[in-house]
């Protein structure tokens, strides 16, 4: 956009803003002015803003300036703007490609989001992460589920599961268990997304002791009264030392000292009492002092 065409009042606004940007970082004065001008494009009608943003993208400009133009494009809800973002996501590389992928998520256009699948397949790990983030921005867990189901590399599967956990996408995570089976990352995602029922099912299934123990510990992450009660129930019902230890670890993670105190008071086994006392001491529980005083005085608890 030729600067001379800017109305005077616009320049009066832009120049101080550009000075602030230029003084604040390593952006040159010329770039700072371009970025300030791009900011003003947010107030322009789409038919005015789009060609100017396109000119910036196609011109010999720094990545900082081009990334600003990409954000402006993400705010223009026209097919042309989305197409330009998609083209940049396909053809550029490095930070600009990553930014274009993110901006497609902000745009939220279903066709563009679907096209990200091919970019994911062709991209390196940074590009694949950016596609997952784009789906997070667009709140599109279904697309992440599809990538997870199709993943042929463990790291890609784990990254997709982690993203679904962060999104609280319980339904998609449950579907993934049916498609790809239980894994440590899936259990973590269940815990992060607060899926008590899925964790309960795995914690109650002794067919794979390793994942059972992980699920029991994961219950502690939920910080939920029902999960705490389940940990207590699991501890009391199990004969397995590993399961009982996992239940104690879960209570420790949940900071559920009431449960541990209850177990301590219910127990008549000195070895078990010592183990429980260790947990309570590590948790710096308020109730520990009564227990210690009583133990020192030789009183039964």
């Amino acid at each position: 956009m030729p600067i001379r065409k800017l109305p005077l009042f616009c320049l009066l606004v832009l120049i101080p803003a550009a000075a602030v940007i230029a003084a604040d970082g390593d952006v040159s004065d010329a770039d700072a002015l371009k970025i300030a001008a791009l900011e003003a494009l947010a107030s322009a009608p789409p038919e005015r803003a789009l060609p100017r943003a396109k000119m910036i993208l196609e011109g010999d400009n720094s990545d900082e300036v081009k990334e600003s133009a990409l954000f402006i494009l993400s705010q223009i809800e026209t097919p042309e703007a989305q197409a330009l973002l998609l083209e940049t996501a396909r053809r550029s590389s490095g930070d600009l490609q990553i930014e274009a992928i993110h901006m497609l998520g902000i745009g939220g256009d279903a066709t563009s989001l679907a096209a990200l699948g091919a970019i994911y397949a062709a991209g390196d790990s940074e590009v694949r992460d950016a596609v997952l983030e784009s789906y997070l921005i667009a709140n599109d867990p279904q697309s992440i589920l599809e990538l997870a189901i199709a993943a042929d590399v463990e790291a890609d599967l784990e990254a997709a599961i982690e993203m679904l956990g962060a999104m609280g996408a319980k339904k998609e995570l449950q579907a993934l268990r049916e498609n790809r089976g239980v894994s440590e990352s899936l259990i973590e995602a269940y815990a992060i997304s607060g899926d008590l029922e899925s964790l309960r099912a795995i914690a109650s299934d002794g067919s794979n002791p390793e994942v059972q123990v992980q699920a029991i510990e994961g219950l502690g992450i939920l910080h939920h009264g029902d999960a705490n009660a389940l940990l207590l129930e699991i501890y009391r019902a199990s004969d397995s030392a590993d399961v009982r230890e996992a239940a104690l670890d879960g209570m420790f993670i949940a900071n559920y000292d009431e449960g541990l105190l209850q177990l301590y008071r219910d127990s008549s086994d000195p070895t078990e009492k010592r183990a429980l006392l260790e947990y309570l001491t590590m948790m710096d529980s308020d109730g520990i002092w009564d227990v210690i005083d009583s133990a020192l005085q030789g009183e039964p608890q």
Partner: protein, 240 residues
């Protein structure tokens, strides 16, 4: 420790407070009978709101909510190099977000607004609120202005900086949820993108140059969104 009703409201909704803050409130509730009674009364009121069917709020309550949002929104924006940003302003933001959440819950009819491109925002003077703007959009503007001020004056200490950024992230999440509730998916997506950048800033593993670049990018994007929220869509093709 003094705990305000705003904090108790956030505690009731299990939102807007850090884990440590929740633990502090929980501990205070166990030891302070007066606070416990105040929380019980507040919980009963909030629970009534939760249980009540969605009905239009009384006009005077709607007006009070609008006035509250307006007063917060019209606070003068601090210059970037002015006094240091006060973290407590985010607790105002939290209270505002909680108020908005209640407002949304009790069925206040908010204007569904999908802001389009608008006239330029003056750099130093906050633009007047258009009279038809919804409480959600006005509240969002307050949040974005607070975020802008916070990012412009990020404290030098790692811990203080991380605390400020985490506060911004918590607020951002509240408004992202409010955007979804208001069917403003475009704004919800932008707020999710902001959170990604804020989380990278909060991680503290960037050098000074990367931090500046990321902060400037976020400030630009905040300004663009604020510009879009500032006024009704422009039809003046001569603006630029």
């Amino acid at each position: 420790m003094t705990i305000s009703d705003d904090t108790l409201t956030l505690y009731f909704y299990t939102d807007g407070l850090s884990r440590r803050e929740r633990q502090e409130v929980a501990a205070a509730l166990q030891t302070d009978r007066a606070l416990g009674a105040r929380y019980a009364a507040l919980s009963a009121e909030l629970q009534q709101l939760t249980d009540a069917p969605a009905v239009d709020a009384p006009a005077d309550l709607v007006q009070r909510l609008h006035d509250c949002v307006d007063r917060l929104a019209e606070l003068p924006a601090a210059a970037p190099d002015a006094a240091r940003f006060n973290v407590s302003s985010f607790f105002w933001g939290a209270a505002l977000a909680a108020t908005l959440a209640i407002g949304i819950f009790i069925g206040i009819t908010v204007t569904r607004e999908t802001p389009d491109l608008v006239v330029p925002r003056m750099a130093e003077v906050p633009a007047p609120m258009p009279p038809t703007t919804s409480p959600f959009v006005r509240g969002l503007r307050v949040h974005l202005q607070n975020s802008e001020r916070g990012l412009s004056g990020l404290p030098p200490g790692d811990a203080e900086r991380a605390l400020l950024l985490m506060n911004i992230i918590e607020q951002n999440r509240l408004f992202e949820r409010a955007a979804v509730q208001n069917d403003a998916d475009n704004l919800a997506r932008v707020l999710r993108a902001f959170e990604l950048v804020l989380a990278r800033l909060a991680a503290g593993d960037l050098d000074a140059e990367e931090t500046d670049a990321l902060r400037n990018k976020l400030l630009f994007e905040l300004n663009v969104v604020l510009t879009k929220l500032s006024a009704p869509p422009s039809t003046d093709s001569q603006t630029i």
